[in-house]
């Protein structure tokens, strides 16, 4: 089962205007750089992007904001991005902010075939407005939960460290973040990897995303891996 495609252009060939996309990454860590570049080049518009963050002005999803390809952003933390702010305040961009754990778990729900999940995050806040709540007994105490729905995305676009032709993926350090859940959640999942290894080269005990969830895989041409907050100590 060979899911390898030549490059990002080929991987996104059927992504059309108004598609709903999930994009992996946390901040600029573990983002699908090559696929984002291809989406900018292709110029598809009216996109709904589900991603924890919206990149910075000149990197990550920020690049698609600059070209006004994004209609709606579903994220937990935006900002760090002047163009984003401008579009939001001018009403050009629709933004839905949701708790980070809710974002992760709504992806998990999609990947695990659970139509909805219950979380206490946002109970009693504006996040709960219009949502069904329900009380359960937890550790002997009644506690209120929100019912949150599984995401329904046309494409999930993730970035892994290593992958094989069947789409088995391995992530590195905190670049894992949302990528495995989004990989499970897309109707079509596109994975870009730093290293495409032969079938059998990955240890079957240590695959983070089994290939059954991945439809297309390619080796990214290059990775800038920009650092958002360079914090160091002196030797």
């Amino acid at each position: 089962m060979n899911k390898v495609v030549k490059n990002a252009e080929e991987a996104i060939k059927d992504i059309q205007d108004n598609a709903v996309l999930m994009l992996g990454g946390f901040g600029l860590c573990g983002i699908p750089e090559n696929t984002i570049a291809a989406l900018v080049k292709k110029g598809v518009k009216g996109l709904t992007c589900i991603s924890n963050n919206a990149g910075v002005d000149d990197f990550g999803i920020g690049l698609m904001l600059k070209t006004k390809q994004v209609k709606k952003m579903i994220a937990s933390y935006v900002g760090e991005n002047a163009e984003f702010e401008r579009q939001l305040l001018s009403g050009e961009l629709e933004v839905e902010l949701i708790p980070q754990g809710t974002l992760a778990t709504r992806c998990l729900a999609a990947g695990y075939g659970m139509p909805a999940i219950f979380t206490p995050a946002g109970v009693g806040t504006e996040v709960a407005e219009g949502k069904e709540t329900r009380k359960f007994i937890v550790d002997g105490t009644e506690k209120e939960f929100l019912m949150e729905m599984a995401f329904d995305a046309d494409f999930a676009i993730v970035k892994a460290w290593k992958g094989d032709p069947q789409g088995n993926l391995v992530f590195r350090e905190t670049a894992r973040n949302f990528n495995p859940m989004m990989a499970m959640a897309g109707k079509i999942t596109i994975a870009e990897v730093e290293e495409l290894v032969p079938l059998g080269a990955l240890d079957p005990d240590h695959i983070h995303t089994p290939g059954i969830y991945v439809h297309r895989i390619f080796k990214g041409e290059k990775y800038e891996k920009r650092i958002e907050q360079r914090t160091v100590r002196k030797k």
Partner: protein, 218 residues
């Protein structure tokens, strides 16, 4: 009056051996520097790490290794990486012993507001709503008053809430307070700060019982 480092040092005293701790952005991040040596504490970063270490040495930054504040970090032996679903899974199932985070406002019933100022650019709640909704124990590191000298320890929060009835303890530049069912209970004064000053700086109900000792932060 405490500076940020003073607040961080005082909070560090709340950490117990064997704790799993989640540190928010800002002052809470500083707390890591003052955990007593020899104490076994594991820091959780909600982007997918248990066993966060200090910042890397110059030149050793790894773009794949960041904390929830997007800062480059390191790991300690025994660390483990995981995905965001598991990260918030362990938060929701109350495996994290202590959550330390900042706040714009706290109400006397434990409500907290720290993510949105209406009319200003909204950056989002990140993981804060998940953390405050589930944490067994939440300590807030905050300023007692804003720049206009208005109290941030209120009868009721004026800003949109992050979570309800969840804050257990507050450490400010002026005081240490528990959030009780009766209101803010004053536990300690900052060095050189009087009970009267704390009273004046606290809008919400303040409970003062007996002598209020001065903090020991070293």
């Amino acid at each position: 009056m405490l500076d940020k480092i003073g607040i961080a040092k005082r909070i560090a005293k709340e950490i117990k051996d064997g704790y799993y701790v989640n540190l928010g952005i800002g002052i809470p991040t500083l707390v890591a520097n003052y955990i007593p040596k020899g104490m076994n504490v594991v820091l959780q970063s909600e982007n997918g790490l248990l066993g966060m270490g200090p910042f890397p040495f110059e030149g050793e930054e790894d773009p794949d290794l960041i904390n929830a504040g997007k800062q480059t970090i390191t790991t300690v032996p025994g660390s483990a990486f995981f995905d965001s679903a598991m990260s918030f899974g362990m938060i929701r199932s109350r495996k994290v012993d202590l959550t330390i985070l900042g706040a714009m406002e706290v109400a006397e019933n434990g409500d907290i507001a720290n993510w949105k100022i209406p009319g200003k650019m909204v950056k989002g709640m990140g993981g804060a709503m998940d953390l405050v909704a589930s944490a067994k124990n939440i300590i807030v590191a905050m300023q007692h008053v804003n720049k206009a000298n208005e109290s941030k320890l209120l009868t009721k929060c004026s800003l949109p809430l992050t979570g309800v009835k969840c804050v257990k303890k507050i450490v400010t530049e002026l005081a240490v307070l528990d959030v009780t069912s009766q209101g803010f209970k004053l536990l300690e004064r900052a060095p050189g700060i009087s009970v009267e000053q704390i009273k004046n700086a606290t809008e919400g109900k303040l409970i003062i019982e007996g002598d209020i000792p001065e903090m020991q932060i070293e």
